[in-house]
């Protein structure tokens, strides 16, 4: 299953809904291009909804880290929403669970961004 990404705006937060596999190649490129585009439009509050992400490999993890640091370096915030167990476990094993702000409730996540 290839990866798909779509964006929507809720209360000043850009939510990127991702589905499918974030792996080396197409999946990682789609994520990178989407985040780049969203940031390029001046959006600084970004919530990546991973609820329908079925699989992620080390390249996909690297892409999440890259998105996180590039948004932060531009004065923005990037948070993660709705991790599946598989993705949750991977972020825990790689100690990235402590790096990302991870949320499981969209409304709460939106409110958590700096006003």
């Amino acid at each position: 299953m290839t990866m798909k990404a779509s964006t929507r705006q809720v209360d000043g937060v850009t939510i990127v809904d991702l589905s499918g596999r974030i792996t080396l190649g197409e999946g990682s490129v789609i994520l990178r291009d989407t985040v780049r585009e969203v940031v390029g439009q001046g959006n600084k509050k970004i919530l990546l909804n991973l609820g329908d992400v079925t699989y992620i490999d080390s390249s996909g993890i690297g892409e999440l880290v890259s998105a996180f640091t590039s948004v932060r370096n531009q004065g923005g915030e990037l948070k993660l929403l709705n991790l599946t167990k598989k993705v949750h476990d991977l972020l825990q094993i790689t100690k990235l669970y402590t790096v990302f702000d991870i949320r499981d409730d969209e409304a709460g996540a939106i409110k958590s961004f700096t006003k």
Partner: protein, 154 residues
């Protein structure tokens, strides 16, 4: 693809091009073989991901997408063990100098987690310098006790 069968073990070998398509093929083969070998769904996912990561390393870092170079992925199954070997034809790898991706200075690096994940997901990981290339062997033991318990509970 070659297939050899001994008394209690089966060996299947794939010779693949240095491409992303090969990575997907190796991952799918690992998934299918691990399923047949009696691992539970979570372990199957971990095994196929470890094989994917090993094949990515072979294609990307070993052979560097060189169309002249091949990746060989071999699966050897016995009643209690699955052993997967992934061999490239690249310049070789020194596993002793791979940085720790959990170190604070590496935590936010974009790459460098593949071998760490392989080690986390498999029971044993071995590297062999093949001159040219590297062979990584990933071993996972079937949890016999768990299997017995499942059968007992039927």
């Amino acid at each position: 693809m070659g297939k050899r069968q001994a008394m209690n073990s089966t060996r299947v070998s794939y010779t693949l091009e240095s491409s992303l398509e090969s990575v997907n093929r190796a991952e799918q083969a690992a998934y299918d073989i691990a399923m047949k070998s009696g691992f539970d769904e979570e372990e199957v996912g971990r095994i196929s991901m470890a094989v994917r990561e090993a094949t990515v390393n072979a294609v990307l870092h070993g052979n560097q997408y060189d169309p002249q170079k091949r990746v060989t992925v071999s699966f050897e199954t016995s009643p209690d063990t699955l052993a997967v070997s992934v061999r490239d034809e690249g310049k070789g790898l020194n596993p002793g100098i791979i940085p720790d991706p959990l170190a604070p200075e590496n935590l936010l690096k974009e790459s460098g987690r593949g071998i760490f994940l392989i080690r986390a997901f498999m029971d044993e990981v071995r590297f062999r310098n093949m001159e040219p290339g590297t062979e990584i062997t990933l071993i996972k033991h079937v949890r016999g006790v768990d299997r017995d318990n499942k059968e007992d509970s039927k």
